[in-house]
Symmetry: C2
Subunit: 438 residues, 2 copies
């Protein structure tokens, strides 16, 4: 029976069988060691028999092996044990030398991402690369667990739409049996409609933006954690988002804290309720420190986002911060956003910044049918009778409670949890203006 | 503080506050009862006060209400308690009568699906409709739990591709900044490449087929549970798939067995290892019983799939069955499938039939680089140097173990678990040739 990397130490003194990839060969003090990789990590094997050493000499990294041998305790080996007196069997031979080295973290060069992605299929076999995507899987798992504990129902909504829901130029269109369809830029309309059904819903889903530039922050396809819930007010919404980021951080670092050290990753410092800074305060603080006048700007620049996060870390004890009090007389105010009841010049919206970048937009929605129809007409130039709006509006016409939610970026969250600098480093197979493969 | 439907009974004798939708009004023996719906179900309220009865008279179904009142134990009420002496407050008024009745299961008419879907946004507020999608969420949850217990890593792969991976006409194409992109018909290539990384991977992901017909079995967008694992043989693969269907069934019926009774749903009878019938046997059994000659056919007809499932239920004690021994000299044999080592005229493939329909294709893959390249050329007319194949093939060139997996249809599984007759009934917002909205 095959023994896996994490189980080897349980078999000290015994003969076992392992299967995996030849991950590394090295000579150490005249001895030949190899590392064999399986889905749980590495097993170290000491090869001494002359014939076996000879057999090994011709094998390329990546060769799929089966090894029978005896387990010897050794604290210096990964997993605390290694295999001696191995008998090697090649299950799948590899003829050519791999295009990149996979046993060194160095192959991950953020200043040459094309090399990284052109060799992605093999480069991901590196254990440190794997840690990024183990972390990402854990973010999803923690998110679902947290939302389920909070009584959310998971759903699946279509990405093929008749019309672009939120308008704008950044929409992919396709031929749909002679008609035109678009790819969903978000699950916005669906998640709001579904508040009328399950009250609390979420979906982890691909999102498409025809973003015609290649930046460190954007891709044309990415995963959004879409969350929406009814019978709540703005404070409830920010509490939910605060709880989610704390939960993700705790679960990721509890499980992968050790592996993440190799990325020099630090567990984010967060308050249980994340602090809030108003847009106006943010502009003032940044303007004062950087001797510029940002007053009146209706959004934050990327540099302001970075600076404010540093400020919050130093002064508010949190590496994540909500930017609140967004202006409602701005293009950042969507027709489905809600104006603040006491000060209609402001939106009930926060952006969640985390380690220098916005990872979620967290607004309340306008739930009153009449007001929504009015905002649709005046702010978006939309016609309530258009098929693209008709179904959406019907959810409101027949009763939706006050509600809000957020679209939360999976890759940005992973990127910043680890301290990477480009969203694409946290994407298995990134898509942008210039890249559709692998 | 708001009390939810499942919590009401814990507050007998106390004054509580509930919030939800007006779901039903009725007169019973001169008394006025209403049901209020929240995310956990219904709360029954007895309205006796004249002013409150009067207030209620003008309210449409769907009105968002807050109700303060006293909890009285009553076994006849949903949840075992009801609210007396209520004080009603309208949180969100509804002016118009909803287009369909939502308190009756009758509104779900499988013979008029257009009505069902044209009113989907409101119709989903029906509790029986909700059971379908609660079931679906549970299928996903059970699947992830089972795969995680079996050491699988979740991943996210792109749906925007440079080329159609599996060829064929049923591919959606879109304009990608002046180039052509396609929508993924499956995660096939990615999950195989990722076996080289994590050994065992899965993804629950949208899948796109430009299927130019409207059937009870197909949609243009649906969710596939994609699973792939290495270092296994065919029997291991069928054992994994058997275990998954059993786990899904157990978890769904444990949680929603009671609600599913309203759909007359029966828990599927399954053996722990699902039985196998060869393609040849299937043709013979069906042919004999139906007095037709199916011998030599390289696939099963929909009617054969139905019949074989009935046969397996009666004779093999299982409502799911694997069809094995698919021919390799057929268009059902893809270039990435593996021929049987002992009999190369057969493929190492099974189709999993469940209650009359194929829910998963379960094949081993050809993992030997040279053989795969040869099959690509001869069976698919593909060029190994094409960018669309280059990355995929590199995973094999640098070492992939024997592996296999399956693409498992989420909606078909949900449909058959409940005993529905059309895949679209198990889809929140279905997409086909004729439908892109809502």
């Amino acid at each position: 029976m095959r023994i896996l990397a994490s189980e080897v130490k349980k078999h000290i003194g015994k003969e076992i069988l392992i299967q995996g990839w030849l991950h590394k060969k090295r000579l150490l003090g005249g001895l030949t060691f190899i590392n064999v990789r399986d889905r749980q990590g590495l097993v170290q094997v000491l090869v001494q028999d002359k014939d076996e050493v000879e057999k090994l000499r011709g094998l390329q990294i990546g060769t799929v092996l089966e090894i029978a041998g005896q387990v010897i305790e050794d604290e210096r080996a990964p997993g605390g044990a290694e295999i001696h007196d191995p008998k090697l069997t090649v299950l799948v031979p590899v003829v050519d030398e791999p295009p990149i080295e996979i046993d060194k973290q160095l192959s991950h060069k953020p200043d040459n991402l094309d090399t990284l992605f052109d060799n992605r299929v093999i480069g991901l076999r590196n254990l440190d690369e794997q840690t990024i995507f183990k972390t990402q899987a854990k973010v999803l798992e923690a998110t679902r667990a947290y939302l389920k504990e909070n009584d959310f129902t998971e759903m699946n909504t279509p990405k093929l739409l008749a019309e672009a829901t939120e308008g704008g130029a950044e929409v992919f269109t396709l031929d749909y049996f002679g008609k035109t369809a678009t790819l969903a830029q978000s699950a916005q309309f669906y998640k709001q409609m579904m508040v009328g059904v399950f009250e609390r819903v979420f979906e982890t889903n691909p999102t498409y933006r025809a973003e015609p530039s290649a930046t460190t922050r954007h891709m044309t396809e990415y995963i959004t954690i879409d969350v929406e819930l009814g019978f709540i007010e703005f404070d409830d919404l920010l509490a939910l988002a605060s709880g989610l980021l704390n939960r993700i951080t705790d679960d990721v670092y509890e499980t992968y804290g050790e592996q993440l050290k190799r990325w020099n990753a630090q567990k984010p410092i967060l308050t249980s309720e994340l602090p809030r800074i108003t847009m106006k305060e943010a502009h003032e603080l940044y303007g004062k420190a950087n001797k510029v006048d940002m007053s009146g700007e209706d959004d934050l620049t990327p540099d302001e986002e970075r600076w404010i996060c540093e400020y919050a870390k130093k002064n508010l004890g949190s590496e994540a911060v909500f930017i609140t009090e967004w202006p409602s007389n701005s293009k950042t105010f969507k027709f489905y956003h809600r104006k603040n009841a006491e000060n209609p010049e402001l939106a009930d919206r926060a952006d969640l910044l985390f380690r220098g970048i916005e990872i979620a937009t967290v607004p309340m929605r306008e739930h009153r049918y009449d007001v929504l129809v009015e905002q649709l007409k005046t702010l978006a130039g939309g016609n309530p009778d258009d098929p693209g709006f008709k179904h959406y509006l019907s959810a409101f016409k027949y009763g939706l409670p006050p509600h809000g939610g957020f679209g939360w970026g999976l890759e940005r969250t992973t990127e910043k949890l680890i301290g990477l600098n480009n969203i694409k480093e946290a994407t298995l197979f990134p898509r942008d203006l210039n890249r559709l493969a692998p």
